[in-house]
Symmetry: C2
Subunit: 416 residues, 2 copies
């Protein structure tokens, strides 16, 4: 085994024992101290970040990625503010639920505990570094970070600031560790560090997530893409429908909960599609439609089979006319990525049917898919949006970074 | 992709849609019908099983495995009874929990839903076939089974009976499918069928579980080995301690929740170890002890480093003297397999400390580790005991075979 990774793993395991039973007051105090330190160290972090940005420019990194990579004093303040917000959230660790007395007198309950050691693999966004630390620390987990080579100087500077604060606070520095070797080989070995890492969370694009799911032997929480649909039912309030489609498509296009495909019941296509198309045109949304929809939207392109399965993350919308709520549900379940789906309807049984039968992390009646988000759901934080079914599904708050253990109080019980 | 597996996967996905919303009454009716059918078809199943047993004998299968493989009329009745018991359990599917109104009027709740398609890979125990079907069907999941080649005739006969009953009941036969190609290549391909299978549960020995964890790209629920400890604290009631150790070590030795290692506080070693050793001798338990314990148990062998980490599943017990509850906890956290651990004590703070700091699925005060079991915990069923931290930890009942989805009721909300 890679010696450096093994060392990191052992340090994380030692830290886990300390973090597991840290009092909430102490954790909150440290989170606020780290927030202050980040602001104090802004100069140092910005200098390191300038090196990454310069390297990025030299390597012809696209401007969109440079923007994600670049830190400013405001962005550092934002990272600090994020940590302060996490300090204000309820600590889920230690709660005991469902404690019941068995017929033999055993008292059995479930206690919420940290997962242990969390590995996070991410790309060139240095703000994830502080954010991931905050969420893992609040939930009593040690974290090992593996960021992209493009952000290595920024990440190193941020992690140093955090570790210095941890030391000053008398808490183990190894609550956070950064893998500074950014090679692919090391990443691949990290994904098989089952002995030391309890769960791996990839944060980044499709390619990164796919690589982690395929290569990791450690359990993975998969956060993923969103090919989200809005179905406008026969009984929909068409003004409401148009408002929701505009919001879900254009309020922010590059996000996983944005709408990518519009389904319309055939009985309202004439009343709805020309008006909808006009509003979409005003925001320069490219429309790709099936034959029936195209007949009402002359400037639409023809949608191909590939369009139905595509998450555009752009000002593009696929449009299809369907004969029934059943056809809409079947189409969605065939092409969606199990993220967020909405029906606009005033029909009680169609609403219930859609909620029951659409297979997705979040299913909406008469609301925008853009609400699928940890903050909008009231969790006060978000680690990502899980599109898998195990452990956590949908927006993940602090609870997703915890496990349970059974605690059993007896007075001499033996099994007959 | 393997064409046969792809066909099975597509059939399972079709079945998933039907099973997802099957009413509880119908599911219970089918479970009881399958139970009746298994008894009716006993002759056919026994004939098929006889072929497997004969082949096993030809291939020099050890008698212990032959015993697990062999079916009798009583064992088939037992399988049927198991299905009837599952029919009597509460159906977890459909429950909505934690529904809350957000400040913007959105009503957000979590609905319990099936996982979808569950893959189960198991060894030569044909009773798992009916059992796995019952648990998956009750929770609205389609199941794809991959049993061992040793039990192929038995498994085929049982699955045929179940599928015939499903057909007669008007429910899709594809609620259960068996992979009849028992080659390793097919098993390996099955473990990468992410497109169709939502979770994979290996049921069997260490080797099988390790292979699935390492090869599967589908999320796995790991059930595992138990290197379980009992720590007898200074303040323990020593009679209670001896009763619990005897129960946990000898009531059934081949199971994962049996005790494999005994830790004793040095201040009670003289009062406890000779008496304990005498009782263990009466059941022919081999003792492997550290120097301090050996001084009080002359016939004990010397424990090696390897002993501390070994799950014997046999009449063998390792024994160690420790100086404090802290040393006991550190030793346990170093060598255990995160299964079940117990402290015998009358000291309040030691009991709480042990519950807080020992990292395991089930931590006991003053009770036998043998209680870690779905039935003993009151779940009415058990799929296995999870030793991982994600999704489910400890004994898994029906809930472990479910997921959640967010359902959101709005009235036109868009994201500002």
């Amino acid at each position: 085994m890679n010696h450096m990774l093994e060392q990191l793993g052992m340090h994380a395991k030692d830290a886990e024992v300390i973090l597991r039973n840290l009092h909430t007051d102490k954790k909150n105090e440290v989170l606020c101290a780290v927030a202050g330190k980040l602001t104090d160290c802004a100069e140092r972090i910005l200098e390191a970040n300038a090196v990454d940005v310069e390297n990025g420019r030299k390597n012809h990194m696209p401007e969109g990625l440079i923007d994600r990579l670049m830190l400013t004093r405001e962005r550092i303040d934002g990272m600090a503010e994020g940590l302060r917000q996490i300090s204000e959230l309820d600590d889920p660790i230690g709660e005991v639920t469902g404690m019941k007395k068995r017929p033999n007198g055993l008292l059995i309950g479930q206690k919420r505990v940290p997962l242990g050691v969390i590995g996070i693999i991410y790309e060139a966004r240095p703000n994830v570094t502080a954010d991931a630390f905050g969420l893992c620390f609040k939930t009593g987990n040690a974290v090992i970070l593996k960021g992209g080579s493009d952000a290595i100087h920024s990440n190193t500077a941020i992690v140093e600031c955090i570790r210095e604060t941890l030391k000053e606070s008398g808490v183990t520095e190894d609550a956070i560790q950064l893998i500074t070797d950014t090679s692919r080989e090391t990443a691949a070995e990290f994904m098989k560090l089952n002995q030391y890492v309890d769960v791996l969370i990839p944060r980044g694009g499709k390619g990164l997530i796919k690589a982690v799911v395929e290569q990791s032997t450690i359990p993975v929480i998969e956060t993923g893409t969103g090919n989200c649909h809005i179905y406008v039912d026969e009984s929909a309030d068409l003004n409401m429908a148009a408002d929701i489609v505009m919001n879900a498509k254009t309020q922010r296009v590059g996000v996983c909960n944005a709408c990518e495909s519009l389904l319309v019941h055939e009985n309202v296509k004439e009343a709805f599609l020309p008006v909808m198309a006009e509003r979409l045109r005003s925001k320069h949304v490219e429309m790709r439609a099936d034959e029936e929809a195209k007949a009402l939207i002359p400037d639409a392109k023809t949608a191909t089979e590939e369009d139905w399965g595509t998450e555009y993350l752009d000002y593009i919308l696929s449009i299809k006319v369907v004969k029934s709520v059943e056809e809409a549900i079947a189409h969605i379940n065939r092409y969606n990525t199990k993220h967020s789906e909405a029906i606009i309807t005033n029909d009680y049984s169609h609403a219930q049917k859609f909620l029951d039968e659409v297979d997705a992390a979040a299913v909406y009646v008469n609301a925008s898919t853009r609400f699928t988000d940890g903050f909008e759901f009231g969790f006060g934080a978000e680690i990502g949006i899980s599109t898998q079914k195990l452990h956590a599904r949908g927006p993940m708050g602090l609870l997703a970074l915890t496990a349970t253990k059974y605690i059993i109080y007896g007075n001499g019980q033996i099994r007959p």
